[in-house]
Protein backbone atom coordinates (compact mmCIF):
# COMPACT_ATOMS: atom_id res chain seq x y z
CA UNK A 1 0.00 0.00 0.00
CA UNK A 2 1.11 3.51 -0.75
CA UNK A 3 -0.81 5.29 2.02
CA UNK A 4 0.84 7.54 4.59
CA UNK A 5 -0.62 8.87 7.83
CA UNK A 6 0.32 12.56 7.97
CA UNK A 7 0.86 13.86 11.51
CA UNK A 8 -1.72 16.31 12.85
CA UNK A 9 -0.77 19.84 11.96
CA UNK A 10 -1.88 23.46 11.71
CA UNK A 11 -5.13 24.44 10.00
CA UNK A 12 -3.52 25.76 6.82
CA UNK A 13 -2.02 22.37 6.06
CA UNK A 14 -4.23 20.55 3.56
CA UNK A 15 -6.03 17.45 4.74
CA UNK A 16 -6.30 14.90 1.96
CA UNK A 17 -9.29 12.59 1.88
CA UNK A 18 -10.32 9.28 0.39
CA UNK A 19 -11.88 9.25 -3.06
CA UNK A 20 -15.48 8.15 -3.18
CA UNK A 21 -17.86 7.86 -6.12
CA UNK A 22 -20.06 10.91 -6.49
CA UNK A 23 -23.01 11.63 -8.73
CA UNK A 24 -22.19 13.75 -11.73
CA UNK A 25 -22.48 13.76 -15.48
CA UNK A 26 -18.71 13.76 -16.03
CA UNK A 27 -15.78 12.55 -13.98
CA UNK A 28 -12.37 14.16 -14.39
CA UNK A 29 -9.63 12.10 -12.70
CA UNK A 30 -6.05 13.34 -12.47
CA UNK A 31 -3.34 11.20 -10.84
CA UNK A 32 0.38 10.63 -10.75
CA UNK A 33 2.38 7.47 -9.89
CA UNK A 34 0.79 5.54 -6.98
CA UNK A 35 -2.22 7.86 -7.21
CA UNK A 36 -3.42 5.33 -9.78
CA UNK A 37 -4.26 2.97 -6.92
CA UNK A 38 -6.85 5.39 -5.55
CA UNK A 39 -8.52 5.58 -8.95
CA UNK A 40 -8.51 1.81 -9.28
CA UNK A 41 -10.18 1.66 -5.85
CA UNK A 42 -12.95 4.15 -6.62
CA UNK A 43 -13.69 3.37 -10.27
CA UNK A 44 -17.03 1.81 -11.20
CA UNK A 45 -18.05 0.74 -14.73
CA UNK A 46 -20.85 3.31 -14.64
CA UNK A 47 -18.45 6.12 -13.69
CA UNK A 48 -15.96 5.08 -16.36
CA UNK A 49 -18.58 5.61 -19.09
CA UNK A 50 -18.16 9.36 -18.60
CA UNK A 51 -14.66 9.49 -17.10
CA UNK A 52 -11.56 11.24 -18.39
CA UNK A 53 -8.39 9.93 -16.73
CA UNK A 54 -5.22 12.00 -16.94
CA UNK A 55 -2.29 10.01 -15.59
CA UNK A 56 1.39 10.82 -15.15
CA UNK A 57 3.13 7.47 -14.42
CA UNK A 58 6.49 8.86 -13.20
CA UNK A 59 8.13 5.51 -13.93
CA UNK A 60 5.36 3.35 -12.47
CA UNK A 61 3.48 0.76 -14.53
CA UNK A 62 -0.12 1.47 -13.55
CA UNK A 63 -1.10 2.86 -16.97
CA UNK A 64 -2.13 -0.51 -18.36
CA UNK A 65 -4.44 -1.22 -15.42
CA UNK A 66 -6.03 2.22 -15.62
CA UNK A 67 -6.61 1.81 -19.34
CA UNK A 68 -8.25 -1.53 -18.62
CA UNK A 69 -10.91 0.33 -16.61
CA UNK A 70 -12.09 1.45 -20.04
CA UNK A 71 -12.64 5.15 -19.30
CA UNK A 72 -14.26 7.31 -21.97
CA UNK A 73 -10.95 9.16 -22.37
CA UNK A 74 -7.47 8.22 -21.19
CA UNK A 75 -4.25 10.22 -21.34
CA UNK A 76 -0.84 8.95 -20.35
CA UNK A 77 1.45 11.97 -19.99
CA UNK A 78 5.21 12.24 -19.54
CA UNK A 79 5.00 14.99 -16.87
CA UNK A 80 2.50 17.21 -15.10
CA UNK A 81 3.82 20.22 -17.04
CA UNK A 82 3.07 18.42 -20.30
CA UNK A 83 -0.52 17.72 -19.24
CA UNK A 84 -1.47 21.22 -18.07
CA UNK A 85 -2.79 22.59 -21.36
CA UNK A 86 -4.94 19.47 -21.75
CA UNK A 87 -6.35 19.93 -18.23
CA UNK A 88 -7.10 23.58 -18.98
CA UNK A 89 -8.87 22.64 -22.22
CA UNK A 90 -11.01 20.03 -20.46
CA UNK A 91 -12.01 22.52 -17.76
CA UNK A 92 -12.84 25.18 -20.33
CA UNK A 93 -15.60 22.99 -21.72
CA UNK A 94 -16.70 21.47 -18.43
CA UNK A 95 -20.15 21.83 -16.89
CA UNK A 96 -21.13 22.35 -13.26
CA UNK A 97 -22.05 18.69 -12.91
CA UNK A 98 -18.43 17.61 -13.46
CA UNK A 99 -16.81 15.74 -10.56
CA UNK A 100 -13.08 16.08 -10.03
CA UNK A 101 -10.89 13.38 -8.42
CA UNK A 102 -7.20 14.06 -7.69
CA UNK A 103 -4.78 11.49 -6.33
CA UNK A 104 -1.08 10.96 -5.90
CA UNK A 105 1.56 13.39 -4.67
CA UNK A 106 0.79 16.65 -2.90
CA UNK A 107 2.45 18.58 -5.71
CA UNK A 108 0.24 17.00 -8.39
CA UNK A 109 -2.95 17.40 -6.38
CA UNK A 110 -2.14 20.98 -5.43
CA UNK A 111 -1.32 22.12 -8.95
CA UNK A 112 -4.28 20.35 -10.54
CA UNK A 113 -6.58 21.77 -7.86
CA UNK A 114 -5.35 25.23 -8.73
CA UNK A 115 -6.39 24.73 -12.37
CA UNK A 116 -9.83 23.59 -11.19
CA UNK A 117 -10.36 26.48 -8.78
CA UNK A 118 -9.21 28.97 -11.43
CA UNK A 119 -11.89 27.48 -13.67
CA UNK A 120 -14.50 28.14 -10.97
CA UNK A 121 -14.85 24.90 -8.98
CA UNK A 122 -14.86 25.53 -5.21
CA UNK A 123 -11.80 23.85 -3.70
CA UNK A 124 -13.95 22.11 -1.11
CA UNK A 125 -15.88 20.34 -3.89
CA UNK A 126 -12.74 18.69 -5.28
CA UNK A 127 -11.96 15.21 -3.98
CA UNK A 128 -8.38 14.26 -3.17
CA UNK A 129 -6.44 11.26 -1.93
CA UNK A 130 -2.73 11.21 -1.16
CA UNK A 131 -0.70 8.24 -2.38
CA UNK A 132 2.99 7.68 -2.88
CA UNK A 133 5.81 10.13 -2.23
CA UNK A 134 5.50 12.58 0.67
CA UNK A 135 8.06 14.96 -0.83
CA UNK A 136 6.80 18.53 -1.03
CA UNK A 137 6.63 21.37 -3.48
CA UNK A 138 8.14 24.31 -1.58
CA UNK A 139 8.08 28.02 -2.26
CA UNK A 140 10.94 30.19 -1.04
CA UNK A 141 9.27 33.16 0.69
CA UNK A 142 12.32 35.29 -0.12
CA UNK A 143 12.94 34.78 -3.85
CA UNK A 144 9.50 33.21 -4.64
CA UNK A 145 11.07 30.33 -6.56
CA UNK A 146 9.59 26.80 -6.32
CA UNK A 147 11.63 23.74 -5.43
CA UNK A 148 9.97 20.40 -6.22
CA UNK A 149 10.33 17.07 -4.41
CA UNK A 150 11.71 18.40 -1.13
CA UNK A 151 11.99 15.57 1.40
CA UNK A 152 14.44 17.08 3.90
CA UNK A 153 14.36 19.95 6.37
CA UNK A 154 16.17 22.33 6.10
CA UNK A 155 16.89 22.37 2.38
CA UNK A 156 18.63 24.67 -0.06
CA UNK A 157 16.43 26.83 -2.31
CA UNK A 158 17.13 25.71 -5.87
CA UNK A 159 16.85 29.33 -7.06
CA UNK A 160 18.50 31.70 -4.56
CA UNK A 161 20.53 29.20 -2.53
CA UNK A 162 19.28 30.28 0.90
CA UNK A 163 18.94 27.58 3.56
CA UNK A 164 15.21 27.22 4.21
CA UNK A 165 13.24 25.44 6.89
CA UNK A 166 10.06 23.63 5.89
CA UNK A 167 6.80 25.02 7.26
CA UNK A 168 3.40 23.32 7.24
CA UNK A 169 1.86 26.66 6.17
CA UNK A 170 0.43 25.94 2.72
CA UNK A 171 -0.87 28.17 -0.06
CA UNK A 172 -3.51 26.75 -2.40
CA UNK A 173 -2.84 29.60 -4.78
CA UNK A 174 0.78 28.50 -5.16
CA UNK A 175 0.14 24.80 -4.48
CA UNK A 176 3.19 24.93 -2.23
CA UNK A 177 4.41 24.96 1.35
CA UNK A 178 6.39 27.90 2.67
CA UNK A 179 10.17 27.80 3.06
CA UNK A 180 11.77 30.42 5.36
CA UNK A 181 15.45 31.24 5.91
CA UNK A 182 16.68 29.08 8.79
CA UNK A 183 19.82 31.05 9.69
CA UNK A 184 18.62 34.66 9.37
CA UNK A 185 19.35 35.47 13.02
CA UNK A 186 22.63 33.57 13.11
CA UNK A 187 24.03 33.47 9.57
CA UNK A 188 25.88 30.27 8.79
CA UNK A 189 24.41 28.31 11.67
CA UNK A 190 22.39 25.77 9.68
CA UNK A 191 21.19 22.68 11.56
CA UNK A 192 21.84 19.34 9.83
CA UNK A 193 19.05 18.26 7.47
CA UNK A 194 16.76 15.40 8.39
CA UNK A 195 13.69 13.87 6.81
CA UNK A 196 10.55 16.03 6.98
CA UNK A 197 8.76 13.05 8.55
CA UNK A 198 10.60 11.02 11.19
Amino acid sequence: MSKFEFPKSILSRPVWGTLEPRRGLHHLMIADAEGAEAILDVATPEMMESAHIIFIPKGTDYAKRLRALNPAQFYDGPSYAASVTRIQRVLLGAKMSTQVYLSGTESLMGQAMLECTNAGIPHTAIQTEHRGSTARRMQCVHCKGFTEDVAIDPFVCSHCGLNLFVRDHYSRRYAAYQGVCVDAEDPGNVPPSKGIYP
Partner: protein
Protein backbone atom coordinates in the same frame (compact mmCIF):
# COMPACT_ATOMS: atom_id res chain seq x y z
CA UNK B 1 -4.90 71.16 15.21
CA UNK B 2 -2.40 71.15 12.41
CA UNK B 3 -0.09 68.17 12.46
CA UNK B 4 3.66 68.72 12.07
CA UNK B 5 4.79 65.83 9.88
CA UNK B 6 8.17 64.33 10.78
CA UNK B 7 11.00 64.00 8.30
CA UNK B 8 12.20 60.56 9.34
CA UNK B 9 13.08 57.07 8.13
CA UNK B 10 12.09 53.51 9.06
CA UNK B 11 15.24 51.94 7.61
CA UNK B 12 18.93 52.70 7.19
CA UNK B 13 19.67 55.38 9.80
CA UNK B 14 16.29 54.80 11.50
CA UNK B 15 15.67 58.43 12.28
CA UNK B 16 12.05 57.67 13.33
CA UNK B 17 11.12 59.44 16.55
CA UNK B 18 7.97 59.97 18.61
CA UNK B 19 7.17 63.48 19.86
CA UNK B 20 5.86 63.91 23.42
CA UNK B 21 2.39 64.16 21.86
CA UNK B 22 2.85 60.85 20.06
CA UNK B 23 4.10 59.13 23.22
CA UNK B 24 1.15 60.33 25.28
CA UNK B 25 -1.34 59.03 22.73
CA UNK B 26 0.53 55.78 22.07
CA UNK B 27 -1.90 52.83 22.16
CA UNK B 28 -0.34 50.89 25.01
CA UNK B 29 -2.02 47.51 24.52
CA UNK B 30 -2.22 46.12 28.06
CA UNK B 31 -5.23 47.07 30.14
CA UNK B 32 -3.99 45.03 33.10
CA UNK B 33 -0.69 43.61 34.40
CA UNK B 34 -0.91 40.39 32.40
CA UNK B 35 -1.73 39.33 28.84
CA UNK B 36 -3.51 36.44 27.20
CA UNK B 37 -5.39 36.21 23.93
CA UNK B 38 -8.98 37.28 23.99
CA UNK B 39 -11.62 38.46 21.54
CA UNK B 40 -11.09 41.97 22.86
CA UNK B 41 -13.44 43.68 20.39
CA UNK B 42 -15.25 46.93 21.01
CA UNK B 43 -17.25 49.34 18.87
CA UNK B 44 -15.11 51.75 16.84
CA UNK B 45 -17.06 54.96 17.40
CA UNK B 46 -14.58 57.58 18.41
CA UNK B 47 -12.78 57.89 21.72
CA UNK B 48 -11.09 60.46 23.98
CA UNK B 49 -10.22 63.69 22.15
CA UNK B 50 -6.81 63.52 20.56
CA UNK B 51 -6.54 59.77 21.12
CA UNK B 52 -5.82 57.31 18.35
CA UNK B 53 -9.43 56.12 18.73
CA UNK B 54 -11.00 59.51 17.98
CA UNK B 55 -11.10 59.37 14.16
CA UNK B 56 -12.10 56.53 11.85
CA UNK B 57 -8.61 56.57 10.30
CA UNK B 58 -5.99 58.16 12.56
CA UNK B 59 -3.51 60.49 10.87
CA UNK B 60 -0.42 61.43 12.89
CA UNK B 61 3.03 62.98 12.61
CA UNK B 62 4.43 59.88 10.88
CA UNK B 63 2.01 60.06 7.92
CA UNK B 64 4.30 61.32 5.19
CA UNK B 65 7.30 59.25 6.28
CA UNK B 66 5.18 56.08 6.40
CA UNK B 67 3.82 56.75 2.91
CA UNK B 68 7.37 57.27 1.60
CA UNK B 69 8.43 53.99 3.20
CA UNK B 70 5.43 52.18 1.65
CA UNK B 71 6.30 53.50 -1.81
CA UNK B 72 9.85 52.17 -1.38
CA UNK B 73 8.60 48.74 -0.31
CA UNK B 74 6.29 48.56 -3.35
CA UNK B 75 9.07 49.63 -5.70
CA UNK B 76 11.16 46.75 -4.39
CA UNK B 77 8.34 44.19 -4.32
CA UNK B 78 4.99 44.87 -6.04
CA UNK B 79 3.60 41.59 -4.65
CA UNK B 80 2.96 43.36 -1.32
CA UNK B 81 -0.19 44.84 -2.84
CA UNK B 82 -2.53 42.39 -4.54
CA UNK B 83 -6.23 42.06 -5.26
CA UNK B 84 -7.85 38.97 -6.67
CA UNK B 85 -10.08 39.83 -9.65
CA UNK B 86 -13.39 39.61 -7.79
CA UNK B 87 -12.23 42.15 -5.18
CA UNK B 88 -12.18 45.26 -7.37
CA UNK B 89 -15.62 46.36 -6.17
CA UNK B 90 -14.42 46.07 -2.56
CA UNK B 91 -11.46 48.25 -3.56
CA UNK B 92 -13.86 51.01 -4.63
CA UNK B 93 -15.78 50.60 -1.39
CA UNK B 94 -12.54 51.07 0.52
CA UNK B 95 -11.54 54.08 -1.53
CA UNK B 96 -14.90 55.68 -0.76
CA UNK B 97 -14.72 54.84 2.95
CA UNK B 98 -11.28 56.36 3.38
CA UNK B 99 -11.92 59.43 1.24
CA UNK B 100 -15.24 60.21 2.94
CA UNK B 101 -13.86 59.56 6.45
CA UNK B 102 -10.66 61.54 6.03
CA UNK B 103 -12.29 64.51 4.34
CA UNK B 104 -14.91 64.68 7.12
CA UNK B 105 -12.49 64.03 10.00
CA UNK B 106 -9.56 66.15 8.73
CA UNK B 107 -11.11 68.87 6.53
CA UNK B 108 -7.91 70.94 6.76
CA UNK B 109 -5.86 68.11 5.22
CA UNK B 110 -8.19 66.27 2.83
CA UNK B 111 -11.05 67.31 0.54
CA UNK B 112 -13.50 65.22 -1.44
CA UNK B 113 -15.82 66.81 -4.01
CA UNK B 114 -18.42 64.54 -5.57
CA UNK B 115 -20.72 65.25 -8.47
CA UNK B 116 -22.36 61.94 -9.33
CA UNK B 117 -19.60 59.64 -10.53
CA UNK B 118 -17.20 62.53 -11.06
CA UNK B 119 -14.98 62.78 -8.00
CA UNK B 120 -12.14 65.14 -7.08
CA UNK B 121 -9.79 64.14 -4.26
CA UNK B 122 -7.34 66.54 -2.67
CA UNK B 123 -4.67 65.25 -0.30
CA UNK B 124 -2.83 68.37 0.84
CA UNK B 125 0.00 66.76 2.85
CA UNK B 126 0.97 64.56 -0.11
CA UNK B 127 0.31 67.24 -2.72
CA UNK B 128 -2.28 65.19 -4.61
CA UNK B 129 -5.22 66.68 -6.53
CA UNK B 130 -6.84 64.04 -8.75
CA UNK B 131 -10.15 64.02 -10.60
CA UNK B 132 -11.53 60.64 -11.60
CA UNK B 133 -14.68 58.67 -12.39
CA UNK B 134 -15.90 56.46 -9.55
CA UNK B 135 -15.97 52.77 -10.58
CA UNK B 136 -13.78 53.48 -13.64
CA UNK B 137 -10.29 52.23 -12.83
CA UNK B 138 -8.98 53.64 -16.10
CA UNK B 139 -9.24 57.12 -14.59
CA UNK B 140 -6.86 56.36 -11.68
CA UNK B 141 -3.11 55.74 -11.79
CA UNK B 142 -3.53 52.48 -9.81
CA UNK B 143 -6.39 50.13 -8.96
CA UNK B 144 -8.75 51.72 -6.40
CA UNK B 145 -7.41 49.82 -3.38
CA UNK B 146 -3.78 50.49 -4.23
CA UNK B 147 -4.49 54.13 -5.04
CA UNK B 148 -6.07 54.95 -1.70
CA UNK B 149 -3.87 52.78 0.49
CA UNK B 150 -0.75 54.46 -0.88
CA UNK B 151 -2.26 57.46 0.92
CA UNK B 152 -3.38 55.85 4.18
CA UNK B 153 -1.25 54.72 7.11
CA UNK B 154 -1.38 51.08 8.14
CA UNK B 155 -1.88 47.84 6.31
CA UNK B 156 -5.22 46.91 4.78
CA UNK B 157 -6.54 43.38 4.44
CA UNK B 158 -9.73 43.19 2.39
CA UNK B 159 -11.75 40.10 3.21
CA UNK B 160 -14.42 38.53 1.04
CA UNK B 161 -17.33 37.02 2.98
CA UNK B 162 -18.83 33.77 1.71
CA UNK B 163 -19.66 30.27 2.90
CA UNK B 164 -19.74 31.51 6.53
CA UNK B 165 -16.07 32.41 6.40
CA UNK B 166 -13.80 35.36 5.60
CA UNK B 167 -11.26 35.09 2.79
CA UNK B 168 -8.08 37.15 2.53
CA UNK B 169 -8.60 38.04 -1.12
CA UNK B 170 -6.97 41.46 -1.36
CA UNK B 171 -4.58 43.63 0.61
CA UNK B 172 -1.91 46.30 0.92
CA UNK B 173 0.57 44.83 3.35
CA UNK B 174 3.89 46.62 3.88
CA UNK B 175 4.05 47.12 7.68
CA UNK B 176 3.28 43.57 8.72
CA UNK B 177 4.26 41.55 11.75
CA UNK B 178 6.04 38.85 9.78
CA UNK B 179 3.33 37.43 7.51
CA UNK B 180 3.18 37.35 3.75
CA UNK B 181 0.15 38.60 1.82
CA UNK B 182 1.56 37.04 -1.32
CA UNK B 183 1.54 33.63 0.32
CA UNK B 184 -1.63 34.02 2.38
CA UNK B 185 -3.86 35.63 -0.26
CA UNK B 186 -6.89 33.42 -0.94
CA UNK B 187 -6.79 31.75 2.50
CA UNK B 188 -9.75 31.67 4.85
CA UNK B 189 -9.77 33.08 8.39
CA UNK B 190 -8.57 29.88 10.05
CA UNK B 191 -5.91 29.20 7.44
CA UNK B 192 -4.15 32.55 7.57
CA UNK B 193 -4.21 32.44 11.38
CA UNK B 194 -2.99 28.83 11.42
CA UNK B 195 0.57 29.61 12.57
CA UNK B 196 -0.65 31.44 15.71
CA UNK B 197 -0.09 29.22 18.79
CA UNK B 198 -2.54 28.61 21.68
CA UNK B 199 -5.40 30.73 20.33
CA UNK B 200 -6.96 27.96 18.22
CA UNK B 201 -7.11 25.62 21.21
CA UNK B 202 -8.78 28.34 23.24
CA UNK B 203 -11.49 28.75 20.61
CA UNK B 204 -10.45 32.37 20.10
CA UNK B 205 -10.68 32.26 16.32
CA UNK B 206 -14.07 30.55 16.22
CA UNK B 207 -15.52 33.28 18.41
CA UNK B 208 -13.66 36.06 16.60
CA UNK B 209 -14.93 34.86 13.22
CA UNK B 210 -18.50 34.73 14.46
CA UNK B 211 -18.16 38.30 15.67
CA UNK B 212 -16.58 39.54 12.44
CA UNK B 213 -19.10 37.86 10.14
CA UNK B 214 -21.82 39.84 11.89
CA UNK B 215 -20.20 43.26 11.69
CA UNK B 216 -22.75 45.41 9.90
CA UNK B 217 -22.66 48.56 7.82
CA UNK B 218 -22.34 51.66 9.97
CA UNK B 219 -21.11 49.72 13.03
CA UNK B 220 -17.31 49.23 12.81
CA UNK B 221 -15.31 47.49 15.54
CA UNK B 222 -11.71 47.60 16.82
CA UNK B 223 -9.11 45.86 18.96
CA UNK B 224 -5.41 46.15 19.79
CA UNK B 225 -2.73 43.58 19.07
CA UNK B 226 0.99 43.78 19.73
CA UNK B 227 4.45 42.35 19.16
CA UNK B 228 8.11 43.43 19.54
CA UNK B 229 10.43 44.86 16.88
CA UNK B 230 14.11 45.73 17.06
CA UNK B 231 14.68 49.14 15.44
CA UNK B 232 11.71 51.16 14.15
CA UNK B 233 11.39 48.88 11.14
CA UNK B 234 7.92 48.95 9.60
CA UNK B 235 8.56 46.34 6.96
CA UNK B 236 9.17 43.24 9.09
CA UNK B 237 8.12 40.96 6.25
CA UNK B 238 8.96 37.28 5.84
CA UNK B 239 10.15 38.19 2.34
CA UNK B 240 13.00 40.25 3.83
CA UNK B 241 13.49 38.26 7.04
CA UNK B 242 16.89 37.04 5.86
CA UNK B 243 17.91 40.71 5.80
CA UNK B 244 16.33 42.07 9.01
CA UNK B 245 16.34 38.96 11.22
CA UNK B 246 19.94 39.54 12.24
CA UNK B 247 19.05 42.93 13.74
CA UNK B 248 17.42 41.07 16.62
CA UNK B 249 20.91 40.00 17.71
CA UNK B 250 22.20 43.57 17.79
CA UNK B 251 20.41 44.40 21.04
CA UNK B 252 22.75 45.13 23.98
CA UNK B 253 22.06 46.29 27.55
CA UNK B 254 23.34 49.71 26.46
CA UNK B 255 21.12 50.20 23.41
CA UNK B 256 17.99 48.24 24.33
CA UNK B 257 16.12 51.32 25.59
CA UNK B 258 16.37 53.08 22.24
CA UNK B 259 16.42 50.08 19.85
CA UNK B 260 13.74 47.79 21.30
CA UNK B 261 10.27 48.87 20.20
CA UNK B 262 6.87 47.80 21.33
CA UNK B 263 4.86 47.38 18.13
CA UNK B 264 1.12 47.87 18.52
CA UNK B 265 -1.53 47.26 15.91
CA UNK B 266 -4.80 49.14 16.04
CA UNK B 267 -7.03 46.74 14.14
CA UNK B 268 -10.36 48.04 12.93
CA UNK B 269 -13.11 46.32 10.98
CA UNK B 270 -15.61 47.94 8.62
CA UNK B 271 -18.34 46.31 6.53
CA UNK B 272 -18.01 47.51 2.94
CA UNK B 273 -21.41 48.33 1.43
CA UNK B 274 -21.42 47.44 -2.29
CA UNK B 275 -19.31 44.31 -2.09
CA UNK B 276 -20.44 43.05 1.35
CA UNK B 277 -16.71 42.51 1.99
CA UNK B 278 -15.02 43.40 5.27
CA UNK B 279 -11.97 45.66 5.44
CA UNK B 280 -9.47 45.06 8.18
CA UNK B 281 -7.12 48.04 8.54
CA UNK B 282 -4.08 47.17 10.66
CA UNK B 283 -2.44 50.37 11.82
CA UNK B 284 1.06 49.96 13.26
CA UNK B 285 2.36 52.21 16.06
CA UNK B 286 5.96 51.93 17.27
CA UNK B 287 7.42 53.19 20.56
CA UNK B 288 10.82 52.39 22.00
CA UNK B 289 11.28 51.20 25.57
CA UNK B 290 12.86 54.39 26.89
CA UNK B 291 9.95 56.52 25.65
CA UNK B 292 7.47 54.05 27.13
CA UNK B 293 9.29 54.24 30.48
CA UNK B 294 8.52 57.98 30.64
CA UNK B 295 5.04 56.86 31.75
CA UNK B 296 5.43 55.26 35.22
CA UNK B 297 2.30 53.14 34.78
CA UNK B 298 3.51 51.64 31.52
CA UNK B 299 6.96 50.95 33.03
CA UNK B 300 5.48 48.95 35.90
CA UNK B 301 3.03 47.11 33.70
CA UNK B 302 5.25 46.24 30.73
CA UNK B 303 7.74 44.53 33.05
CA UNK B 304 5.03 42.38 34.61
CA UNK B 305 3.46 41.43 31.25
CA UNK B 306 6.72 40.45 29.58
CA UNK B 307 7.89 38.55 32.67
CA UNK B 308 4.72 36.46 32.91
CA UNK B 309 4.06 35.85 29.20
CA UNK B 310 3.81 32.14 28.27
CA UNK B 311 6.86 30.85 26.46
CA UNK B 312 4.90 29.90 23.30
CA UNK B 313 3.75 33.49 22.88
CA UNK B 314 7.21 34.96 23.41
CA UNK B 315 8.49 32.53 20.80
CA UNK B 316 5.71 33.28 18.32
CA UNK B 317 6.19 37.01 18.77
CA UNK B 318 9.87 36.48 18.04
CA UNK B 319 11.55 37.81 21.22
CA UNK B 320 12.16 34.69 23.32
CA UNK B 321 15.96 35.04 22.94
CA UNK B 322 15.94 38.68 23.97
CA UNK B 323 13.46 38.32 26.84
CA UNK B 324 16.10 38.06 29.62
CA UNK B 325 17.77 41.25 28.46
CA UNK B 326 14.39 43.00 28.19
CA UNK B 327 13.52 41.99 31.75
CA UNK B 328 16.87 43.24 33.07
CA UNK B 329 16.04 46.60 31.55
CA UNK B 330 12.34 46.73 32.45
CA UNK B 331 12.81 45.52 36.02
CA UNK B 332 14.41 48.85 36.92
CA UNK B 333 11.08 50.57 36.17
CA UNK B 334 8.91 48.31 38.30
CA UNK B 335 8.72 49.33 41.95
CA UNK B 336 5.94 46.90 42.77
CA UNK B 337 3.27 49.59 43.20
CA UNK B 338 -0.23 48.76 41.94
CA UNK B 339 -1.31 50.11 38.56
CA UNK B 340 -4.63 51.67 37.60
CA UNK B 341 -6.85 49.70 35.22
CA UNK B 342 -7.07 50.59 31.51
CA UNK B 343 -4.54 51.38 28.80
CA UNK B 344 -4.21 55.16 29.20
CA UNK B 345 -0.97 56.43 30.86
CA UNK B 346 -2.71 58.52 33.59
CA UNK B 347 0.58 60.39 33.95
CA UNK B 348 -1.03 63.14 36.02
CA UNK B 349 -2.32 60.80 38.73
CA UNK B 350 -0.05 57.75 38.63
CA UNK B 351 2.74 57.99 41.28
CA UNK B 352 6.31 58.51 39.99
CA UNK B 353 8.76 55.62 40.11
CA UNK B 354 9.72 54.85 43.72
CA UNK B 355 13.20 53.47 43.12
Amino acid sequence: MTIQFNDETFRGDYSFKNSDWAIQRFPFPFHEDSYMYSVNMEQHRGGPKGSIYEKRFDVDEHYLAEMRDRAMVLDDDPLRCQSLPHMTLAGWDLLELIMVSKSEDYPDLFELHRNGDQWRWINKPMGIDDSFTFLDAATLPYGPMEYITRQAQGDFAVLDQRDDNLWMDAGMITTQADWSLDFDIGMNFFEWHAPVPLAHEKGIFVRALKFLLNIQQGAPARRLNWTMTVNPLLDTSPENYHKWGVQKTEITPENIGSKQHLRVELQTFFRLPRSNALVFPIRCYLCNFQDLMSMPKWGRRLHRVIRDLPEELATYKGFIDNRPMMLDYLEKFDDGLPTSPGIWPEFETEPPLQK
